[in-house]
Amino acid sequence: MRWTVLRWVAWKEARQLLRQRWVPVGYAVLFGLGLLLWNARLFPVGWFGPHRVAIAYFQLLAFGLPWLGLLAGAQAIAPERETGRLAYLLTQPVEPSEVFWGKALGRFGILAGLFLVGQGITALAFLRHGGGSVGMYGLFTAAGLGLIFLALGLGVAVSAWSPTQARATGGALGLSLMFLLVSDLVLLTAALFLRLSAPTLFFLTTLNPVQSFRVLALSTLTDRLDILGPAVGWALAQLGTSGLRLLLTGSLLVWTGTAWALARVGFGFGDRPAWRLKPSTGVSEAEVT
């Protein structure tokens, strides 16, 4: 894999993503809400101290970052494949894997860069109000970057396996809804009606990468059971703080690896979604990739 090709494909992707404008606008909204949260003068209201605001802020990030990552990923492959632009790019002296990773690098670069700018701005409010230590904030920022990389991988996977831009966008939106809303509702309902035990509930929670990120962030901020809930409380008691962090980080790494592996397989040679190759041609996987 040649760095020159990676760098230029990444440059092209970054330029395209920035000029589409919705990513910078999305971040502006996200961090604008974050700043509002910090400056809403909620601190004098009883228990709603800086710690709580920090928690609310990271919940906001856990909600917004997957949306942006998934949608940015969904636009990476399917639209260009549908319009023939990906094929055109592949008629240049490049390897398909260079195009794939160049796209990933460019998109992640923009998402991560804008995230760091926003985090830098909100860090001032965070420190001014004493929501936590600088180290803790840095840890959250690193976790946020991880969440972006994971969400982007999922989005690219959806895009690589979709025949059209419409399906890729729909798939990414569906996945966002599932991770951010539906899984919460299903877990709540199941916990209420099936009377799930704390270990089962915790296990089900770790199946959702966004929930894993949330739990990881919250358990770093506080050990209060009224915030963490019984399932995480059980896990803390069983695994200890470092064990819990290790488990959740591992879960996020597995999700990330799986998402990007799926994306790469779906990209194949770049020409069409991998699932369309076998039934139509009967050629072997080795011949295709």
Partner: protein, 292 residues
Amino acid sequence: MRAFIIEAEIRRVVLGGRVVLRDMGLQVRPGETVVIGGPNGAGKTSLLRAILGLLPMEGTVRIGGHDVRRAHRAAMTQVGYVPQAPALFPEMTVGEHFRLLAALRGVGASALSEAVRAFGVSTYLNAYPGTLSGGWLQRVSLALALLGDPPVLILDEPTAHLDRTTRDLLWEVLRQKQAQGVTILMTTHRLEDRVLEADRNLWLEDGRLVSETFEPRWVRLKAWVLRRPDEDWVRHLPPDWQVLRLAPDGLGDSTCVVLRGPWASRWQAVQTLQAGGNVVIRIDWLSDEGEA
């Protein structure tokens, strides 16, 4: 030196459950110009895409001795490609396209500015593709394909979106490239694209190369005529010829006539049209599925 710069042995290409190419062998010598004709849907674009390694297929394609799927990069260093519809990126300016492709092809700054100047696109370097006409887009595509002077040019119906002036420019450029020994592989469904003197003309139908000549079995003749009011000449058309359209063209006194019939008797059809007292202003030859 290799005997063939393009060697394609394509057993089968299936898209969407339909066999689009089958049992096809195509060898092109260095410096040769090969024009492939065929009606819409014959598989011309699929053939070029398979040759470029962009379609999964049963068979092998080598360009410059490199397998297009196993040694894709090495094969593509040999090729400049002009797609049927310009595939420029909408969020990038023309100048950025030149920078990107020059970087990917390892083309230096002087060669880049020479390419920009040669095609007269310097005025549009800051323009986005969406603001350019079809002709200018195709001109940019051609300039991009020629970056780095690749030894093989592959063009997919390059005249499809061009007006006559830009088409003439294209022919001029291609003739220059022919003279420089560049290998040209081009598809078209316009029979008049034979103005480019090809070493070989091939005809593709239903996913197969059906003849080693640029001769379809059926053809459409589209003519603009100043017509006599009677239509007696229609009855004297050669056997199997039929009138598909006979209507004023809305741009003056002329009438647009579209006839369909066997390729072999095409000139008899033209003679009949003229013998009827009609004044023929212009004739276009279209493949059988061309526009009516």
